[in-house]
C-alpha cells in the first residue's frame, strides 16, 4: 500500500467516525510527514524507493486502527467525552431549561426595572401578543441553538457520531414528553408560560436535532472521496 493511501485511509476513517474535517486533515498531514520521514530514513539505510515505501507503511502501523485510537483519544481527552451520558443526554436538556428560565427571569427583572409590570393591566392586546411572540421566539431559538451547540461540541470533544445521536435522542424525548407551553393572551386571560409534561409533540424539538445530525453527517460525507474504500 503506498504512503498516500495510508494517509488518505487515516483521513477517511476519521471522517467516517464523525470527527471534524480540519482535525482529520491535520492528522492526515502529520501521518504524511511521518511516513515521509520514515521513507527517507529507509533510503538512507540503503532500501530501494519501493522498499522504502513498504518499510514506512509497516513501521507506521495500521491506519484504521490508528484512526480509531485517535477518535478515542479525542473523546477521553475531555471531561465531556469521559462522561458522555451526562454531557450528551442530561446536560443539553438541562441547558435548554436553564437558559429559558434564565431568559424569563432576566426579562422579568428588566421589566420590573423599567416599571412595565406595574402597568401590565393596561397593556394593549398587541403589546401582549408581542410579549408572547418574544417568548416563543426565545424558546424556539433555544431549541435550535442548544442542540446545534452540543452537536458541534460532540464532534469536537466527544469524538464522533455516537454523541450526536445521543443528543438527538435526548431532545427527541424532550420534544415528546417535556415542553414549555406558551399560551397566547386572550380576552379572558393575559397569556401564560407552563412547564412540565404535555401530550402534544413539539415538532421543532424533534426536527432540529435530527436535522443537525443529518447536516453534520452530510458535511463529512462531502469531504469523503467518491470512490469506495479499499479493503485490505
Amino acid at each position: 500500500m503506498p504512503e498516500s493511501s495510508a494517509t488518505e485511509r487515516v483521513r477517511r476513517a476519521l471522517l467516517r467516525l464523525g470527527l471534524p474535517a480540519d482535525y482529520a486533515s491535520r492528522a492526515a498531514e502529520e501521518a504524511a510527514g511521518h511516513l515521509e520521514d520514515l521513507r527517507r530514513e529507509a533510503i538512507e539505510k540503503g532500501l530501494t524507493p519501493r522498499g522504502s515505501e513498504a518499510y514506512a507503511v509497516r513501521a507506521f502501523g495500521d491506519s484504521e486502527d490508528l484512526a480509531a485510537r485517535m477518535a478515542e483519544a479525542v473523546k477521553s481527552g475531555s471531561w465531556f467525552g469521559r462522561h458522555s451520558l451526562c454531557s450528551c443526554f442530561f446536560l443539553p436538556v438541562l441547558t435548554l431549561v436553564a437558559a429559558f428560565l434564565g431568559a424569563i427571569v432576566a426579562a422579568a427583572l428588566l421589566g420590573d426595572w423599567l416599571g412595565l409590570w406595574a402597568k401590565h393591566l393596561s397593556w394593549s392586546r398587541s403589546t401582549r401578543l408581542a410579549v408572547w411572540w418574544a417568548l416563543q421566539l426565545v424558546y424556539c431559538g433555544l431549541l435550535i441553538v442548544v442542540p446545534v451547540f452540543y452537536c458541534w461540541l460532540a464532534r469536537r470533544r466527544f469524538g464522533g457520531w455516537k454523541g450526536l445521536l445521543i443528543i438527538a435522542g435526548a431532545f427527541l424525548l424532550h420534544g415528546i414528553f417535556h415542553t414549555f407551553t406558551i399560551s397566547a393572551p386572550s380576552a379572558s386571560q393575559p397569556g401564560s408560560v407552563t412547564w412540565g409534561c404535555h401530550t402534544h409533540i413539539q415538532a421543532i424539538a424533534l426536527l432540529v436535532p435530527l436535522a443537525t445530525v443529518f447536516l453534520f453527517w452530510w458535511a463529512n460525507r462531502l469531504k469523503l472521496p467518491l470512490e469506495p474504500l479499499q479493503v485490505r
Binding site: 520521514d37 507506521f60 502501523g61 485510537r69
Partner: protein, 111 residues
Amino acid sequence: MNGSNPSFLNGVPALVVLKLLSVREMYGYELVKEIQRTTEGAFRFGEGSIYPLLHYFEQSGLVSSRRQEINGRRRNYYRLTARGRKRLAGLRGRWDAVIRGVNFVFRDQYA
C-alpha cells in the same frame, strides 16, 4: 515494550513522552526516534500510535502544539504546558514508588 503485559505498562508511555517533551519541544517522528534512542529500543510500537497519545495530551491541556514550516515541510511541534509538568511530577512520584517497591521485593532476602 516488546512482549510485555500491557496493563503492567499502564501509564509508562505517558511518563516517557511527557518527560521527553519536558526537555524540549518535538514533532511526532522526532519524538519516536528520541524514545527509541533513550530507551535503547526497549519500546516497540507502530510509530503512528504516538499521535493518539499526543492528541489526548493536547485535548487534556498537558501539551500545546504549534505548526512550523521547515524546508517546505510543515511540522506540528508539541511542548509541555504547566499542567503537563504537574502531571509529569505526579506520574514520576508514582513510578518511583513502584520502582522502590519492586526493588524491595528483589532485595537479598528474596534473591
